[in-house]
């Protein structure tokens, strides 16, 4: 039973909430997500989103938007279903439904950049063209949503329990009496 004891039960996706250090962390279930590769400008036009897409720490907004995850690849995100049709499009792009494949976490608060410093090596100054990066050691994409104080993170659903526990642990560490996070303001 050694293996089983090491791992906590999967968190309930309906009650995933963390607060601390001026941060609110939650998951955003129900978003439609499509991975589009190839002629992404045509895919973006079909979906009604930007062809450039938000890069790392770039700001996305609206109910439907795009995130750039590679030179020829967009993640189209929407609160609506059926934004794109999965499969090969003769215009030259491929679409795969990733709505259930990627868990979306949202970090909200003035100190959400402190998470970025701990989970990534991303410079906080300015937007990077591509939102794909390593977050807490795993592949992810990260961008701001609506403002630079709200971050959205998309990660492989099979590793979402790990990321959640990582975030809980990170918040626990930063709540200590010598917390860099709690003392970050004003430094």
């Amino acid at each position: 039973m050694l293996d089983q004891k090491l791992w906590r039960a999967l968190p309930d996706r309906h009650t995933m909430r963390l607060e601390g250090g001026g941060l609110r962390i939650s998951n955003i279930p129900g978003l439609s997500q499509y991975l589009a590769s190839g002629q992404i400008s045509l895919a973006a036009a079909a979906a009604g989103v930007s062809a450039a897409g938000a890069g790392a720490l770039g700001i996305a907004s609206g109910n439907s938007y795009s995130v750039r995850v590679a030179r020829d690849r967009l993640l189209v995100v929407s609160s609506h279903e059926k934004l794109l049709t999965p499969g090969w499009n003769d215009q030259g792009y491929a679409v795969t439904d990733m709505s259930a494949a990627l868990e979306v976490f949202e970090f909200d608060g003035p100190l959400c950049s402190e998470i970025v410093k701990r989970a990534t090596t991303l410079p906080l100054s300015g937007e990077s063209p591509c939102a794909a990066l390593a977050f807490a050691g795993i592949s992810a994409c990260l961008y701001c949503y609506r403002s630079d104080q709200v971050l959205r993170l998309h990660i492989d659903r099979a590793l979402s329990a790990y990321v959640w526990e990582w975030l809980e642990t990170m918040l626990g560490l930063t709540r200590s009496d010598e917390s860099q996070l709690s003392g970050a303001a004003g430094r």
């Binding site: 590769s37 439904d97 259930a100 494949a101 090596t121 492989d156 430094r187």
Partner: protein, 943 residues
Amino acid sequence: MTSHRVDGLGHVDRTRPIQFIFDGRHVTAFEGDTIASALLANDIRVVGRSFKYHRPRGIWGAGVEEPNAIVDVEAPFVIRNCRATTQPAVNGMVVRSVNASPTAANDRNAFVDYFARFMPSAFYYKTFMWPNWHFFEPQIRKMAGLGVLDPETRGPRYAEQINERCDLLVIGGGPAGLFCALTAAERGKKVILCDEGLEPGGSLLHRETTINGLDGRDWVERTLALLKARNVLVLPRTTAFGLYDHGLAALNERRQTGGADRLWRIRPAHILLATGAIERPLPFANNDLPGVMSADAALVYLRRLGVAAGRRVVVATNNSHAIETANALRHAGVHVSLVDYRRGLRVVAAVGQKHVTGVELSDGSRVKADAILVSGGLSPTLHLFSQARGKLRWDEPLSAFMPGEPVERVSIAGAAAGCFDLRGVFESAASALASVGIGDVSLPTVDAGTAFEIVAAWPTPNMKGRVWIDLQHDVTTKDVELAARENFISIEHLKRYTTLGMATDQGKTSNLNGLALMAQLSDRTIPEVGTTTYRPPFTPVPLSSFGGMRGGALMNPPRRLVLENEHVADGANLREYGGWLRPAWYGSEPEAAAIQREARHARETVALFDGSPLGKIEVQGTQAAAFMDFVYYNTMSNLKPGRCRYGFMLGESGTVYDDGVLVRLEENRFIVSCSSSHVAGIYAFLEEWRQDRFDRNQLFIHNATSETATLTVSGPRSRVLLETIGLGLSLDDDALSHMATAWGSFEGTVVRVTRVSFTGDRCYEISIRADRAVTLWDRLKENGRSFEAVLLGLEALMVLRAEKGFIIIGKDSDGMTRPMDLGVSTPLIKKQVEFIGRRSLLTEEAQRGDRNQLVGLEVVDGGAPFATGAHGVEPSKGGKRSIGYITSSYFSPTLKRPIALGLIERGSNRHGETIEIQHLGDVRRARLGPPCFFDAVGERLNA
């Protein structure tokens, strides 16, 4: 309070007394004391025992340069091998000396020192040669060294690691560092300042000076306030321990309350080193006695911590820097004798047994003293500069190595740049700032001070008595002389031969004296001898800092099934398989019984299995079919949409890399259903070949493995169970035959139902959006009760697939297995287009007749299943030789006998032969046969 506490001096909080225990003794102190200052204040002289000879050792320094006062903190938190000079004392703390038994003051191994003359450098390796070194090594290691690692000690599990960027990283918070940080911040730069001391300020905290009309400490406080106002990140207790490629600076921040240290990875545009200088010891006999201390450290203890190093002290110096120590102590009421080498008088020996009682001088006189405060000159701290590939140059007037040619993106200021007077410090800071593009700097006004003067006082050959060069490693002048006699005259050889400058100390106080002596011994100049290579870390860094949050459940985390909680509720026993946490078996009965039950039941009724980790990598585009032909051993382009085909993927060497089912959904859309544990590897493999020879605008690969859960329904009653679910598609074999796929729906959610089987029975794989899989799984279980459905764990599945001779790549194959070894030769003969690994399959090696080939093995002695890994053996000239091994072995509940698969030499031509199987000395017999033990014609696929 104690004989060494000085009233009116220091910045400890005298209103808050504390107590702690050192080596069983109660120690009184004040908040603000370090362990070292408290021990000094309590007149505890012997704080440790030396590395090799167990000589009594006292406190030498006041910071990270301390070579002697290494202690273990055992409560209220645990720190191993902690420097007493950098760890604040805490009320209730329990501290023990290291390498001492039972205490530093009364060490039972102190007798070793009486045999010192017989134990020079390299003594161990020359003496303990018979029977071999390792025979003696454990006891020697027990008696030597520093602290002992306790495997029971549990430190903090996780530590913070923070990545930061800035325009300017200032390392060192002395006058140069503070001035540079403030000036840069005022010019709009984003600045981070770190300082390894308990508080920033450096020499200004204990040396009298006036800057812009302010006392040094007041100037520090004002500067820190200005830095805070400009949002400069100031990190006290933080050592920059390494500079790495691309300008990465690694910092370790020590925590005061026992929490894990914090690691900072800073990527600055520019680094400014204001790392100061370290005071060197003076060479004289018995210069390791407790009571011999750095003069600068003594000034720190006096002015910062209110502790006098002694009541009757000798200040011995070859330079002007230590004069302030003498004056300050004298002013504090301490009896001071000054031995100024610049005036010709020198110390010949320290007198005393366990601590200093006096000094013997070069004029033959003796002076009574309880401490000798020495200064042999200042060595700029250039470890980081050297790590940044900076070269050093020798400065004869200062008797020190200085930074040589500038290094890109690294500047140096202050004492680290060889400027030991305050005016020079600020001038060098202005120069350093200019190199960052910050010019027109207004220098602060400082009092005149005195210029630094020094005369040489290096150790010389044939010095009388035992003159210590390296206090931490018990290296004396005689050891260096021995090394020279044995021709270890390269400074790097000297280091390895004598251990001079090794380990945690990294030669902070010893390097220069050692190489100066070697220079004399080998008739070279000091720069000709050169320095050893400075390597990170500058000071020891706890492993927990490097570990960060990678530990426990956060270490190499497995992927988790979307249905995991449901499986656990059903009694699943989870195990890690290929990076996924999966049910191994269900229920509380013994593992073997549960596996047999599940496998037997699956053959009889219907089994429900969570196959979600199976790869689902989409390959799309007009070149997708050609690509599939290229990456698979089998021909795939003629697969019709809606059909599936089993195939191998080979590496370039022709060995089997993975197997699995390819699904063609549409003309230009395939799904590669690779092995669960190979998904990441196959995805990278496909992407690599896509970019190698295909049109990147016509071929795209998406890993959608996590998008769908794959719920598998297998067994003779699988179809009737599924018909009760209502998937919106016909399950007739004509409409959905074996190796076909079709779309349906479940409660409004699209599902894909595929007829593939890894059990050999009729089987359906239902792929459904992962976040909607729970409802379908619950329905399958609920309806399955009527059909006596069983939940199938992975271990039972292994039994079922082995009955059918279905292989697991990596288990039933190895790094040598070609597809022909697994009985699949046709594609190599008939396939018309190129594919990965083809050329390798045509080599003589691949076509060898005596290759190991997949076979089934039957137990012929009526015994238990063979051990997996047992070898087939046959007689040879030398005794026996291996002719292959067993790869999978189980007891089949269906066949009611053991079965096994193996890779056996010429196996496919030896069906019916009996061979010997050997395992751990036991020899049994097995009959070779085809790998498939059950339903060889495949009737059960449609039963």
